[in-house]
């Protein structure tokens, strides 16, 4: 008969104040198989752990239950103690009698009774635990970074500079993301491109980074340490190594389409370079807008291309790569125009979103850094900035705060004033969120030094009237209605997860939150990890954030990835599914429900890929024949726990 020890922690008075710990230990000492039961004031303290270790050794305990706080806190502590005493870590289980008992009840008698049942239930479980050793797998010491914005670039550089090979995949023809579109950055007002381009160049020159632009992750399989990725390389129809950037091709291209980089404020050709500093520095033929390659409808660009860099026969290519860790930095997009009609966005050319305004401010922008109205190229004298356009509006739009808008609106207004000193900037706001180093000072500067007029209130209507854009709003502080005849309206549009991120998340099997941002494994303690081990999150893909935060998270995610890649082998929790082949009929229902593709049928029986299995147990609840179960949480154990919980 297995010998079980039970240790009941007082946790000072945290437990002992409500639960009669002596009685719990006394009752448990009568439980069949329990040969040792005692209580101690702080089981997690060094002396407390020593008591457990000594008892295991002296009484030859086969397993122990610690009745204490939540297993999320000290399970590791006690399992390590059990290991020190020579047990397997799974021969130690925790009964949570603090969070789930003493802290939530007042009636001592009832709380004690519940604590006894909880502890018995843990005893019934631990007695049936099998000793397990972590599953070990070799590591492919390369990383994949998805997304070539500032977060992705930072992660890639950190990884590469540590010495690991990195594959950086970017969907667009150039890396740089949204940051490269910005003019100046708050609160320092340094030039975004000036600080971004060196990093982009570093990426392109780095011997450890394999840059794959105009590419998308198509398929992923494998598991932490050993992912297999299929990447689709879309044809650019231009050989970067042959292209001399002479720009002859764009001159002959007959097509003009809105330019993505300038958010439609200008036009580009079907063959184009996204922006002068693009990395890789080459042209891309946009097949969607080209008059046609099959059959060739125009062919002018190839006629003028002297180096012969254009190849209409270029084919999409699937590249297979093996990596050990993945960082997802897919960034954000702005809230869709179609969804935000109330401010005239998308209807009036002079109602702009924040990024468009950035382009207007940018020295490399469509107006060469002059603030001019898109409609008539006149300098706007009255500009209304509307914060929370789409954010913090659970009824109609996004419930969350997009976080960066307060700051960049202040920056916009400030920069506008720098460009048009005689103009007036109004900002409608709900409240100002300026937590962050030097942020509050920055906002104050906008108000005090640059005379930006902050109006606390919402805008009720925006409409065109005699060449002006009328803005009706309310100033809740003054308690009066406001009407502004604006020349331009700039919306601090909400941030949304990048388009297509949901599809990618499904491929990667990482969860999304209710707003479609990628979900971290734990809101506090695992903000860099996704729920799938070996995949990490960086930047605005996880939640709206500004540049320093995105960079910090990117470095953090790189650090996390390094902690995997720097190991020879990885260890995986051994509490995985196991199959009783005698009972399995090969119906495949478990294979269908497995979220990790860890199950497969072979010769009419199910097989578990232990490395992929996360031990969720959905298979076991689905199986009609109890032919599959998760180790150390078997139906037998649960049934015994049920009995103990009901006092039977």
């Amino acid at each position: 008969m297995k010998r079980t020890g039970v240790f009941v922690c007082h946790c000072g008075i945290n437990i002992a104040g409500t639960v009669d710990v002596k009685k719990v230990s006394e009752e448990l000492s009568k439980h069949s198989g329990v040969v040792h039961a005692e209580d101690y004031i702080y089981a997690c303290s060094d002396p407390g752990q020593n008591i457990i270790i000594d008892a295991i050794k002296e009484k030859k305990l086969d397993n122990v239950v610690i009745a204490c706080c939540s297993p999320n806190l000290h399970e590791t502590t006690f399992r390590n103690a059990a290991k020190t005493a020579g047990l397997n870590e799974f021969q130690c289980e925790i009964a949570n009698i603090r969070e789930q008992c003493s802290w939530v009840h007042k009636d001592m008698e009832k709380a004690t009774d519940k604590a006894i049942k909880l502890t018995r239930s843990a005893v019934q479980r631990v007695r049936r635990n099998e000793p397990l050793e972590p599953i070990s797998v070799p590591v492919t010491r390369r990383a994949l970074v998805i997304g070539g914005g500032i977060a992705g670039i930072q992660s890639a550089l950190d990884l590469a500079n540590t010495g690991f090979e990195v594959i950086l995949v970017e969907r667009e023809p150039s890396i740089g993301g949204h940051m490269i579109q910005l003019s100046e950055t708050f609160p320092t007002l340094d030039c975004s491109q000036c600080i971004m381009t060196p990093k982009m160049v570093e990426v392109s020159k780095h011997p450890k980074i394999k840059l794959m632009t105009y590419s998308e992750v198509q398929e992923i399989s494998g598991y932490v340490g050993n992912f297999k990725v299929k990447i689709l390389k879309k044809p650019t129809y231009v050989y970067a190594d042959k292209c001399t950037l002479c720009d002859e091709c764009t001159k002959v291209c007959p097509v003009a389409v809105p330019d993505e980089f300038n958010l439609g404020l200008t036009a580009r050709r079907a063959i184009y370079i996204p922006f002068p500093q693009a990395i890789p520095a080459t042209f891309t033929l946009d097949i969607k807008n080209c008059p046609g390659l099959l059959p060739i409808a125009c062919g002018k660009c190839t006629d003028v291309c002297e180096p012969g860099a254009i190849d209409y026969d270029m084919k999409p290519e699937i590249v297979e790569e093996e990596v050990g860790a993945i960082i997802v930095a897919t960034g954000y997009d702005l809230y869709e125009k179609e969804l935000l009609t109330e401010y005239g966005y998308g209807k009036y050319p002079d109602v702009l979103d924040g990024l468009q305004f950035e382009r207007l401010l940018s020295a490399s922008g469509p107006t060469m850094g002059k603030v001019l109205r898109p409609s008539d190229h006149k300098e706007p004298k009255e500009v209304v900035f509307i914060q929370c356009a789409g954010s913090r509006d659970p009824e109609l739009h996004c419930a969350y705060c997009s976080k960066i808008c307060c700051m960049y609106t202040a920056k916009h207004a400030m920069l506008y004033k720098h460009h048009v000193p005689d103009g007036q900037a109004y900002i409608f706001y709900i409240d100002i969120r300026s937590g962050g180093k030097d942020y509050e000072e920055f906002v104050q500067r906008a108000v005090e030094d640059d005379g930006v007029l902050y109006l606390r209130g919402k805008v009720s209507k925006v409409f065109e009237d005699k060449g002006k854009i009328k803005v009706w709003g309310v100033d809740t502080l003054a308690g009066k209605d406001i009407e502004i005849d604006a020349d331009m309206v700039v919306l601090a549009t909400a941030m949304r997860p990048s388009k297509g991120a949901d599809e990618l998340a499904r491929k990667l099997k990482i969860a999304m939150d209710k707003d479609g941002f990628l979900a971290e494994a734990h809101p506090k303690l695992k903000p860099l990890e996704s729920v799938t081990s070996g995949m990490f999150l960086a930047g605005a893909a996880q939640a709206p954030k500004d540049i320093p935060e995105a960079v910090a998270q990117a470095s953090g995610a790189a650090g996390k990835a390094i902690s995997i890649l720097s190991q020879e082998r990885l260890y995986h929790a051994p509490t995985v599914a196991e199959v009783n082949v005698n009972l399995c009929t090969g119906c495949g229902m478990c294979v269908q429900v497995c979220p990790y593709d860890s199950l497969s049928l072979k010769d009419g029986k199910v097989e578990v890929n232990e490395v992929l299995c996360e031990g969720c147990g959905t298979c076991s609840a689905t199986c009609l024949r109890a032919a599959i179960q998760v180790k150390n949480m078997t139906p037998l154990q649960v049934n015994e726990m049920i009995k103990a919980a009901l006092g039977g």
Binding site: S70, P71, N72, N96, R98, E99, Q100, C101, W103, V104, H105, K106, D107, K110, A111, D113, K114, K117, L118, S121, K509, A511, M512, D513, K514, A519, A521, H522, P523, V531, V593, P595, Y596, E614, G615, C616, G617, T618, S620, A621, T622, V630, M633, P635, V638, N639, M641, I642, K643, A645, L646, G647, G648
Partner: protein
């Protein structure tokens, strides 16, 4: 005076959301009745109908299955399977005449200590007027 009936409830809580939610309720020192014995499972998707039948058979007055909100499942989709399975079990139990109050399911996230507290309070409150569950309990 006769002592008030105290229902015995078994709650299957998923480790990542609902059990964490119950921990939060504890950390926040929220108070709820001690009638529920939680059993933490990895995922609500792992709760086999057998567990539920077994709990009633062994004398549970009520059974709760609680998982992550749809889309929040730590295992991506376990709770969706649970939702389907539990719906069928619930229909079956009610069909043979078990009081619907006795078997419940909830979505409780790690952040919802308040909700956990409320679910438990409501559950106990709803079970009290029903008295002991004798229908499916093993006769002793």
């Amino acid at each position: 005076m006769a002592e008030e009936f105290e229902p015995k409830i078994v709650a299957f809580l998923c480790k990542w959301c609902s059990s964490a939610g119950s921990d939060l309720a504890g950390v926040s020192r929220m108070q709820y009745p001690p009638n529920v014995i939680p059993i933490t499972v990895m995922c609500s998707g792992s709760v086999s109908p057998l567990y539920i039948f077994s709990a009633f058979n062994k004398g549970a007055d009520g059974v709760l299955v609680s998982g992550c909100h749809p889309g929040d499942c730590h295992y991506i989709k376990g709770n969706f399977y649970a939702r389907r399975r539990i719906a069928l079990v619930k229909k079956l139990l009610e069909y043979v005449g078990l009081e619907p109050e006795r078997f419940q399911m909830s979505w409780i996230s790690a952040a919802e200590g308040v909700k956990y507290t409320k679910v438990i309070k409501d559950f106990v409150q709803e079970l009290k007027p029903l008295g002991p569950q004798k229908k499916l309990r093993r006769t002793q």
